[in-house]
Structures are given as C-alpha cells and as structure tokens.
C-alpha cells in the first residue's frame, strides 16, 4: 500500500474532525500537525475517538481495508500513535504490513 495514499486519507480525516471541532489548525493539516497528547496536542480524548471512527470508515470505504485502529498496543503505547499525522500514518502502514503478512 502506498504511504502517500494513506497519508491523504489521514489528512482528510483530520481535516474532517477539525471542521467538526471547529479547530483551524486541524482543518489544514500537514504531516507534522500535532494531534493527541502533550502540551501542543490539538485533540482531546473525544477528538481521538472521532478521528479513529473517521479513519476506520474512510479506510474501509475508500480502500476496502478493514482495520481496528484502537487495538491494545495503540492504547498502551507510551508513544501514542495518535501523537501526530505522521505517527498515525506510520501506525496504519505498520498495521497494514502485519495484516498482509498474516493473510
């Protein structure tokens, strides 16, 4: 799977959540945009819930990929994959690779 394609979906999902949450910085995101955690996080925990549901649905509808993003690892990682656009994109790429290897 092309990383650029996944990144595009992540950016669209973040922008969508940004509109719902009325946050300018999320409406025009790039790869470095901070999402969850730390002093510069732009999403609260409910924002992460919205992003997860948005992303899971977009991946399913646009690419036919069914992933569960909120798995045990994501929820327990010290370095949360929801930290930024880059980290969530990398995390999805990792899950896709694992899915491919297991199929």
């Amino acid at each position: 799977m092309d990383r650029q394609e996944i990144l595009k979906i992540v950016l669209e999902a973040v922008s969508e959540v940004g509109e719902d949450e009325d946050k300018d910085i999320l409406q025009n995101p790039d790869e470095s945009t901070r999402l969850y955690g730390g002093a510069n996080g732009n999403l609260d925990s409910m924002g992460v819930v919205f992003l997860v549901t948005e992303l899971e649905e977009s991946l399913s509808e646009k690419l036919g990929i069914d992933l569960t993003l909120a798995d045990d690892r994501a929820m327990s990682q010290r370095n949360s994959p929801f930290k930024s656009v880059k980290t969530i994109t990398d995390y999805i790429m990792m899950l896709l690779k694992e899915k491919q290897e297991n199929s």
Binding site: V49, F50, V52, T53, E54, E56, E57, S60, E61, D66, T68
Partner: protein
C-alpha cells in the same frame, strides 16, 4: 420512515420473531447466528458467525453500513444460558456464557456506536434477565453475565448520550423459547411465583418494551433497565 436494524441471534426464538416483525413493517434487518439463516425475505441479510468473534462483528457492521448507508437500531438479542450449581460449573462453560452474552453485546455496541455517533442518532437495546435482580440459585454465571450487561448499558448510555444514542436494556421473565428448554419445570414455576404477575412472558411483552425504547419519541430515555412481570431491580 423505514429503519435499518441489526438484530443478533435471529435463527430462532425471540430474535427470529423480532426480525420477522420488523421486516413485516417494512424495515431492513441484518441478522446473525452461528447457524444458517432461517428467514427468507428480500430486506433481510444474514451472517453466520459467532457474536464474540471480533473480526466477524466488525465485518458485519461495516457491510451493513455499506449496504444500507446507516444503522438505526441495534438489538443485542443473542444469548445463551446454562443452569448449574457454581461448584459444578466448568470454567469453559462460564467463559462461553460471558463470551456470547457480554462480549457479543460489547463488540456489537462498540462497532455500531461508531456509525451512530456520526449519524448523531441511534438506539441500542441490550438484554438482561430477571435472574439478575432475583439472584436465582443455579444461574450464577448467566445472571453475572447479564449483571455485567446492565452496568455496561448504564455506562454506555452516559458515554453515548451526547451523540443522540440511547442505550437501554430489557429484562424478560422466562419466555417459552429454547433458552429455557432445559430448565426444570419446578424451577420455572418457583421463578414465576416470585414475579408480581405470575405468568410466562410472551413475544408481545418483549416487543412492547423494545418498541418503547426505539421509538423516536424516546430520545430522553436512556440507561434504563425494564424488567417484565413486575420484578423489581
């Protein structure tokens, strides 16, 4: 307006009757059971699966969204029971009951809630039992699995209320279905005697409460548990 239902455990018993009822009213129903479909209707689609299989639940919910564009009502009807004294209840049986009753309810609610949150509308109805408030001897595991569902219902109602989703539970008395076919008659008689109204529940009794919960006008009713037969929680 026609609604889109997901009903678990539709091969027989109350689940099948409910699916057929809502189909007869012009609604779309997606059902599931471990066995093959026993309903043949143009607006019905069936998934043969185990409700505690996480991947299968995710697939069913996403396919429903793709097929119908939305999900209005989830009835977490699938359930199993096993009567035994706790000292002779195998661990495997206890796990199976919790997997089907609690994990099935949790997984379906979680996946459907993701869709309903975006719709800003939805109705989830879970199933408990009068065995839980009556603390029935011989039903420790079954009643405990339903007690977990009751608490889950009330917490989920709080978490999802802001998105226009209501989560409630119905607690039927014994209804003459396969679920109670192995329960001795004297035990059932004694249970009926502990109800305020001493009779078996019927399909219409269950339907009446579910219709109340899923009614559009019931958007201010959530986190509630209604037992049939006058049993008090």
């Amino acid at each position: 307006m026609n609604k889109v239902f997901i009903i678990t455990g539709t091969r027989k018993g109350l689940g099948k009757q409910l699916a057929e009822y809502y189909l007869s009213k012009g609604h779309k129903v997606v059902g599931c059971s471990r066995g093959e479909a026993s309903i043949n209707h143009v607006d019905y689609s069936h998934h043969s699966m185990d409700v505690s299989d996480e991947e299968a639940v995710i697939q069913l919910v996403r396919k429903t969204k793709k097929l119908h564009g939305r999900i209005d009502v989830l009835l977490n009807n699938a359930g199993i029971a096993s009567m035994n004294h706790i000292t002779i209840t195998p661990g495997k049986t206890a796990r199976r009951i919790f997997d089907t009753n609690f994990m099935g309810t949790f997984l379906f609610s979680r996946e459907v809630a993701k869709i309903m949150m975006r719709q800003k509308h939805g109705r989830i109805v879970n199933y408990t039992t009068v065995a839980t408030p009556l603390r029935l001897e011989g039903e420790a595991i079954y009643a405990a699995s339903k007690a977990a569902i009751e608490n889950f219902t009330q917490v989920a109602a709080r978490e999802l209320g802001q998105f226009g989703i209501t989560v409630n539970a119905i607690g039927p008395t014994p209804v003459k279905t396969d679920l109670i076919k192995n329960v001795p008659a004297d035990k059932l008689e004694s249970l009926l005697n502990r109800q305020a109204i001493h009779r078996y529940g019927e399909f219409k009794d269950v339907l009446n409460v579910i219709n109340f919960f899923i009614n559009d006008e019931s958007d201010f009713v959530t986190g509630q548990i209604i037992y049939l037969g006058g049993v008090v929680g």
